[in-house]
Amino acid sequence: MATEFICSIRATGGDYPTLTAWEAAIQTDLTSAKTKVYSHSGIVGIVGDGALVSGASSGATGTVRHASATQVLVEIDAASVDFTSGEQMQVDASNYVTLTDAGDSAIAVAEGYADWPSGLGELVTVSGWTVNSTNYIIIRAATGNEHNGTPNTGFFLTGSIRYGAILTIQQDYTKLVNVSLTNTGVNPAYGFDLFLSSIELHKCVAYSVGGAAIRYNFNDNLFINVMAIGDIVNNSLETRRPIFKNCTARSYTVGSKGIEGTAINSVAYGGDFISNATGGWTASSDYNASSNATTTPPPGANSLTTDITPADFVDTAANDYHLSSG
């Protein structure tokens, strides 16, 4: 188990004003036994990012990655003992936090707020960290700041880039939850670019005006309740075992070396479930629908064999691909 170290991304009054600043500040080896998150009772003075700190009782020493209002993430020096609950973690006698627990390994979390009516304008790359399946990265919308299933709502990122993406993830195990983004760039342009394995998207909205909404690479990426205004494409012949559950996208593509993907309860509103693979879609794939079903039936015995149409959605002209009632 590990403890979430949560930083707020806000226009003002948060831990960081941009995701880029957060990523640069927290970038660390989350898997190290010497990287720990502690709870504290409040910051006295200033405990700056990168500050050298010592334990008033234990004599432990380390470097602060960041101190939020209630937590502090610290890299403890290799030869040091750990900090202890109840002691002051001090920059000096006037600048410190008082720890209220014995610390734990960390999951680094960025929580975005809907503080930008036109979106948070930046291109973000998450890279250079050390992570594993226990200690990883989460980027998510804060509670009450989620999108409504359509682009440019709630906490969302926006920008324009060709040959790139709004959010590029180069760390295994990263989880993106309720993240929405829009790329207005000219094709080839991407919304999310998932560059490693075991990356998970939950309830995300990806909109690429000129290109693919999501591009994925490598293995075992998971897409659940994702709304992609655009295609979901693979970049590598070696991509293996993507899983799409309850997703909507213009089309889905799996790789070309007999490497299977799974699609369940998912909709291709403007194309197909494309298989360049010998193995194609797994036997678990089922209950899918597409706009080309009569020509290329979507995978699964229980998938629809009739074409879906724009009338099946609330308002495709407004990029609202919620299923219409009736």
């Binding site: 009054g13 831990d15 880029t20 640069a24 405990v47 990012d49 990168g50 890279s127 960290w129």
Partner: protein, 127 residues
């Protein structure tokens, strides 16, 4: 005026390829924002991880190139180095480094900043 968010304390990844492509190094410019950008909390609290350098008379558009990575010429989606340019922090005059230690920020004119901005690939300074 533009404002640079500069790495004063870098990170090292044990994998040399990831380290070069992903880890921010001392002097890398993480972000550039318009004059008066709200950094959300006291600038002093970004130090010593970051330094904020303010440059009067320069627009974000004019200096945005300094946050670009070094890109592979064959595959333009592949990053070779996290940032192509860096501020030679260690070479800054002592008075500037003292100011940074005290407040985490300093205001410099464009000519001064360019004289400490180096292209990592070519090794050339910008002025």
């Amino acid at each position: 005026m533009a404002e640079f968010l500069v790495i004063a304390k870098g990170h090292t990844n044990p994998d040399p390829v990831i380290d070069r492509a992903g880890a921010y190094k001392r002097g890398d410019i993480v972000d550039v924002r318009e004059d008066g950008f709200d950094w959300g909390r006291p600038i002093r609290s970004f130090w010593p991880k970051f330094a904020i350098i303010k440059i009067p008379g320069v627009t974000v558009a004019q200096v945005r190139k300094y946050i670009q990575p070094e890109i592979d010429a064959i595959d333009p989606t592949k990053i070779l180095t996290r940032r192509l340019y860096k501020v030679e922090v260690n070479s800054l005059p002592l008075s500037i480094r003292r100011a940074l230690r005290q407040s985490g920020t300093v205001t410099l004119d464009k000519t001064t900043v360019l004289s400490y901005l180096r292209n990592k690939t070519t090794g050339a300074l910008e002025s």
